[in-house]
């Protein structure tokens, strides 16, 4: 058995180190270390509750709006506020813009450049993929940045700027879009659709969403030349390298549900847990275990509403700044795949039924989600009613508590707030990558990525095994959220 420490792990958001025990050409055991601590939960203690809206987006520059949305929701539940219809639509649009931009950035800038590595020079697709996806100098990067920038103009309209907006308020949105702006917003969405259909998919979004089985996906792929679009390119590479057999964790998926609908209760993508059957997701079933994290420990894992964050840098047996959240004591995976599988998206249910959660299904899920959400955004933009209210206000009680559960691009994000004497008494955050990249718990059960890495092939002489890199990046980790 040899031990390999892999880091710095780039093209993930933030710093990451992975320790691998390798034997007979495969990973036998993995430890995932988030090597940075900033202490946002400590920073927030004693602040005015509304100040959370300034601080929490700055936990993460890539899921900034998701953090805002969770804080706004936690404050709203504490204040008993319900945003008006325009406020809900504007918040959905803002969050969706961030989610889709994140998926696009992940695919083109973080994930695909690994296939331009010279280690793949003998693969049949390399001559095409290398100049296209090469980091910094490939054609794809320069081709997608202008449409990404144009898409982010939505943020200029909806939220003033991105990242780190204060437009998402507990009572709705601070940015009342007027009639002509509503038209501009819609035109920007249509422009982005054009780019997606031409470059990413090579087909209409509706056609992509209608792929409802493994066979349908295969037929779609077979009907096109390998270079027809970047999605088609990925499918070809994934097939050749067997990415569907790489990086399987435990096939239990959690989603808090995303995009509140008109009734205020239901969400476009409902919440739940999927492990072959669907279960209700009740946040009371969540606990954070810190047995292998550098934090002081209570007697038993705590619900985040009772949780604490007290760093303990010399704690024996600990190896990460990441806590270990568990649902009903179980390791669960979160992200676009979880969201879509819980929501019953047929293709992703089929892919998971066939080969579980793996490198390929995680990537396909993000792309399918782009195709699924953009048409919803077009509808929301049309539903805005200029002249009707965008924001309501209320008072924060001196004593209150609140919970904000949203879906960031990377999955389930929860904020738990308690207010005492008008100030923040406790603010606990469980981020998506905290779920996915958690260390072992008190029972010694490894987190989702730690499980997904077991069995990954390691070639002779590899000091940063490519299979390991694909698996890690397939989760689209956000380490700065993880170690808030």
């Amino acid at each position: 058995m040899t031990r390999l420490v892999v880091g710095p792990f780039n093209r993930v958001e933030g710093d990451l180190e992975v320790t691998l025990d390798i034997d007979a050409g495969a990973v036998r055991s993995a430890q995932v270390n988030s090597p940075m601590y900033r202490g946002f939960e400590q920073i927030l203690q004693g602040k005015a509750p509304a100040d959370a809206l300034v601080f929490v987006p700055r936990i993460c520059g890539i899921c900034s709006v998701a953090q805002s949305a969770a804080a706004a929701q936690a404050l709203a539940t504490a204040m008993g506020l319900v945003p008006p219809r325009n406020g809900r639509l504007a918040a959905n649009l803002t969050l969706a813009t961030e989610n889709l931009a994140d998926h696009l950035t992940h695919f083109y800038l973080f994930f695909m450049p690994d296939f331009a590595r010279t280690a793949y020079r003998n693969r049949p697709w390399f001559a095409d993929a290398e100049p296209r996806f090469r980091a910094l100098t490939g054609t794809a990067g320069n081709e997608i940045l202008p449409p990404r920038t144009a898409f982010m103009h939505l943020m200029g309209l909806l939220a003033g700027k991105w990242p780190h907006t204060l437009a998402l308020q507990p009572g709705g949105s601070s940015r009342p879009l007027q009639a002509s702006e509503k038209i501009r917003l819609y035109r920007q969405l249509r422009e982005f659709r054009g780019f997606l259909e031409r470059t990413l998919f090579g087909d209409t979004l509706e056609a992509i969403v209608s792929l409802d089985s493994c066979a349908a996906l295969e037929n779609w792929s077979d009907a096109r030349p390998p270079q027809a679009s970047d999605f088609r390119r990925f499918l070809g590479i994934a097939g050749d390298l067997g990415l569907a057999r790489l990086g399987r964790a435990r096939d239990s998926f959690i989603s808090y549900g995303s995009y509140p609908q008109a009734d205020g209760e239901s969400r476009l993508f409902p919440s739940g847990v999927w492990d072959g059957g669907r279960h209700a997701m009740n946040s009371a079933d969540i606990r954070e275990d810190v047995s292998h994290a550098w934090y002081a420990q209570a007697e038993a894992p705590q619900h985040p509403a009772q949780g604490s964050t007290v760093p303990l840098v010399d704690k024996p047996g600990a190896y990460s700044w990441c806590k270990a959240p568990r649902w009903q004591g179980r390791v669960v995976e979160t992200g676009a795949l979880a969201r879509q599988v819980v929501a019953g998206q047929p293709l992703l249910r089929a892919l998971v039924e066939a080969d579980g959660g793996n490198v390929m299904s995680r990537v396909v899920a993000r792309l399918i989600e782009i195709a699924r959400v953009l048409p919803e955004m077009e509808a929301w933009a049309r539903e805005l009613e200029p002249g009707e209210p965008y924001c309501v206000v209320g008072e924060m009680p001196q004593e209150a508590s609140g919970e904000g559960l949203v879906e960031a691009a990377r999955g389930a994000l929860g904020h738990w707030l308690s207010v005492r004497r008008g100030r923040i008494h406790s603010y606990q955050i469980v981020a998506p990558t905290t779920w996915n990249f958690s260390p072992r718990d008190a029972q010694g059960i490894p987190g989702a990525l730690e499980q997904a890495l077991v069995g990954a092939p390691v070639e002779d002489g590899e000091d940063a095994p490519l299979a390991v890199q694909h698996i890690v990046r397939s989760f689209d980790p956000c380490m700065v959220c993880t170690v808030h």
Partner: protein
């Protein structure tokens, strides 16, 4: 000119903002200006050992380094050990890496308020003992010390902002690579004057409301955000309302207060961010370079002269009354 970019106690948001630069795509722009990214944690191919070899060569001087960009605050804790951020794969603290690299670089650039002054990571009890490269809040010093000068002779260049505007970063890097940035181009806090020599107030679309002190009461109102909702645009150093963000935005245009994010210490304003602190009903934070008595006198005068159109629109989320139209010749 080559460039090495490191991230520490921050959120990565300045990089994400940077990717959204308008016009020619970022990578093409840098190439066109002859700026080569040696390594960037979010963008480069090289991982682990390959990346460490490169960073190590820059740190020991065997590979010349033109520009060191640091994003995120420097985490000195616990107890000065730097163990709150160990650069992965090295067993060494990020602050020790940054010290070594800064001593070799021709220019050292702090990208964002965290790397410049400590930023939000230094807020509250500052759990990680965060500071900036050459400032600890508004005090010179920070990680590298007050006397630090990079090989090219300049102190740390502070592209402050939370996040930074993509143009602020690009225009600074390009000026450095052309050799056209001098000490005189930086203000008292080491910020490039080309953007920090403006106030956020300049170009604010709420200016008419400001002139008449017609103020917003709640988020989504159209009025001025200074009197009640915490806006510091008249004191904040940046060109946000001249340059605009993500096409057509800015904080004010997004309907929320400027929190002065380009200034050291913005993270601890001493009051809730979205509430204007007042004494006897008069905001404390008046424009910095105007006699207070004059401001109060003018404010009282303009308030009494506020057109009803402006007053009514200030507390509405859409235009209730448009400016009247005069027919020519009357």
């Amino acid at each position: 000119m080559n460039l090495l970019w490191l991230q520490s106690g921050g959120c990565g948001g300045c990089t994400l903002s940077w990717l959204g630069v308008e016009g020619m795509p970022l990578f093409a722009t840098l190439a066109d200006e002859g700026i080569e990214i040696l390594w960037h944690p979010s963008l480069s191919e090289a991982s682990a050992a390959e990346a460490l070899a490169l960073i190590g060569a820059c740190a020991d001087g065997s590979r010349p380094l033109d520009m060191l960009c640091v994003e995120g605050s420097l985490l000195r804790g616990p107890n000065g050990s730097g163990r709150f951020h160990m650069l992965s794969g090295t067993g060494e603290s990020m602050i020790s890496w940054v010290r070594a690299l800064a001593s070799r670089a021709r220019h050292v650039v702090a990208v964002g308020s965290c790397a410049a002054y400590g930023g939000v990571t230094a807020a509250g009890v500052n759990p990680a003992d965060a500071c900036g490269l050459q400032y600890d809040g508004d005090t010179l010093g920070g990680l590298l010390g007050a006397e630090f000068r990079a090989g090219g002779g300049l102190p740390v260049i502070n592209i402050a902002g939370c996040p930074t505007h993509p143009d602020w970063v690009n225009e600074t890097l390009i000026a450095l690579s052309r050799g056209s940035m001098t000490r005189e181009d930086l203000d008292d806090f080491g910020r490039p004057r080309f953007y920090a020599g403006q106030l956020v107030h300049h170009g604010c679309p709420r200016n008419e409301f400001y002139e008449f002190k017609a103020s917003a009461d709640k988020p989504s109102d159209q009025g001025c955000l200074m009197e009640h909702l915490g806006c510091k645009g008249t004191q904040a150093h940046a060109d946000c309302n001249l340059r605009l963000w993500n096409g057509s935005g800015s904080c004010l245009r997004g309907g929320y207060a400027c929190i002065r994010c380009t200034d050291p210490g913005f993270e601890e304003p001493g009051h809730p961010f979205a509430v204007t602190p007042k004494i006897a009903g008069i905001p404390i934070g008046l424009p910095t370079d105007m006699p207070k008595a004059w401001f109060i006198a003018l404010a009282a005068l303009s308030k009494s002269a506020t057109p009803s159109r402006v007053r009514e629109n200030a507390t509405a989320d859409h235009i209730l009354r448009a400016p009247s139209v005069k027919k020519p010749g009357r």
